[in-house]
Every structure is written in structure tokens, then in C-alpha cells.
Symmetry: C2
Subunit: 106 residues, 2 copies
Amino acid sequence: MDPITRRKYDSRARVIKAMGHGTRLFLVDELSRGERCVCELQELVGADMSTISKHLAVLREAGIVRDEKRGNQVFYSLRCPCVLNFFACVESVMQTSATQAVELAR
Amino acid sequence: MDPITRRKYDSRARVIKAMGHGTRLFLVDELSRGERCVCELQELVGADMSTISKHLAVLREAGIVRDEKRGNQVFYSLRCPCVLNFFACVESVMQTSATQAVELAR
DNA sequence: GAAGTATTTGGCTATATTGCCAAGTGGCCA
DNA sequence: TGGCCACTTGGCAATATAGCCAAATACTTC
């Protein structure tokens, strides 16, 4: 694989990788219902606020979410709602795996 | 987040995470054009065969690809082609980021 | 300006991932 | 059986990631 191609796939992978974490996937799912401030998200996840902030930074740097400061709060929202399409596909991957596991067990 | 919910998002994330690597993304893209044996993929990527094999194992364990041994070769193919939909979304995320970067620079 | 709230950043340790080499496995053919 | 080929597995070192605490920043309100 030549360096140009490699870079192309690496940069695409960076976006996907940003979604590849349980907490961040949850954050994306929650943001699909509308913008949320960090403290609301922290409440929902139940981790340290610094942890949530760092996860949100990963999503922001990947271009998946946008942040907007209002007063002393920061509101996050989805920038590309198409990432929600991942969920359906993931479900079908897991479904297929489960189905095959059952069939193998017979 | 309660343990059940956490597990749900963690297992979904595992599938997405499997795609979150440049080489694996390339493998998926290549497999979208049809089944390939490990040595063909190795040729294309240009890494050690053991490295390719391990990447394929990650994709297989995530349920994204299937392997089939024929003779002394192992052929891999996509099990859930819906993962290809990720590409279009990733492009649009990167497009949006790039657009915004340009606008901020003005 | 001081104090309070919301968030980010720095720094650290624990853990996970990556990629190579070497060794093991299984099928094919002489 | 012996050797070869395709592939997987084990093991290791380098690097990246996760999550906590503490400290810094930013905004608001008094």
C-alpha cells in the first residue's frame, strides 16, 4: 500500500475509531436526541467530568460533534447525523454473528 | 449508566472499533470487491502475513468478515456489506470538517 | 475583585493495541 | 514420509488509550 493510500485509510479510520468506544457511542446516541451540555452528559454516564470532556474532545477532533459555549456551559451537538446509520448496521452484524453462533451450536 | 446499558454500548463499540484501523478499513474495502485469500491481501497491504492474519482475526471476531478454508488457502469475504455504508458517512464527516476549517481560516 | 460553577488541561498509572519475528499447524504433492 | 506452502499463534517491545485526580481557565454573580 503506497503512502498516499495509507494516509487516506488512516484518516478515514480516525473518524471511525472515534466512535469505537462504549462511552463515546453512548454520547453520540444521546446527542442524537438534541444538544446537551457536558454536565448533563456527565450525569448520564456517571464518570468523572474530565473523562467526559476528553471523550467529547475525541469526537470533536474527529469532526463528529460540534461544541458551542453559552454562558459558562458548553453545549455539544451532532455535526453529521449520518453516523447514526452505524447503529443499524452494527445491530445487523451482531445479529448475524449471533445467528451463526446458534447454528454452529446445533 | 447502568451495567446493562454499558454492556450494550460496549459490545456495539467493539464492532465499530474493529473497523477503526487504516489497514482493517482497507481490507474491508478490498473485500467489498469480492473474496480474497490472505496472501492476496498481504500482497496488497505489504505487511507481514502474521500482521494481516491478526487484523483479519479482529474483523472475523467482530462478525464483519467470514473465513473459508479451501485447500491450503483461507478466503475471506464480507459478511455484512452494510459496513460499506460507513465510508460515505466518513467522507461527509471529513468534508464537513474540512469545510469548517477553511471557513475558520478566512 | 472574590467566590462559585462549568469545563478543560496536565499528569500519572494501568491497560490495550500494533507489528514484527519465530515457532506451530494443516493441507498438498513428490 | 518429507518438504513445501498458506496461514495462525505465541511472545515481545513500542506505542496509544482510558480514567482518575489535581490544577488551570472561563464565565457569572455578588
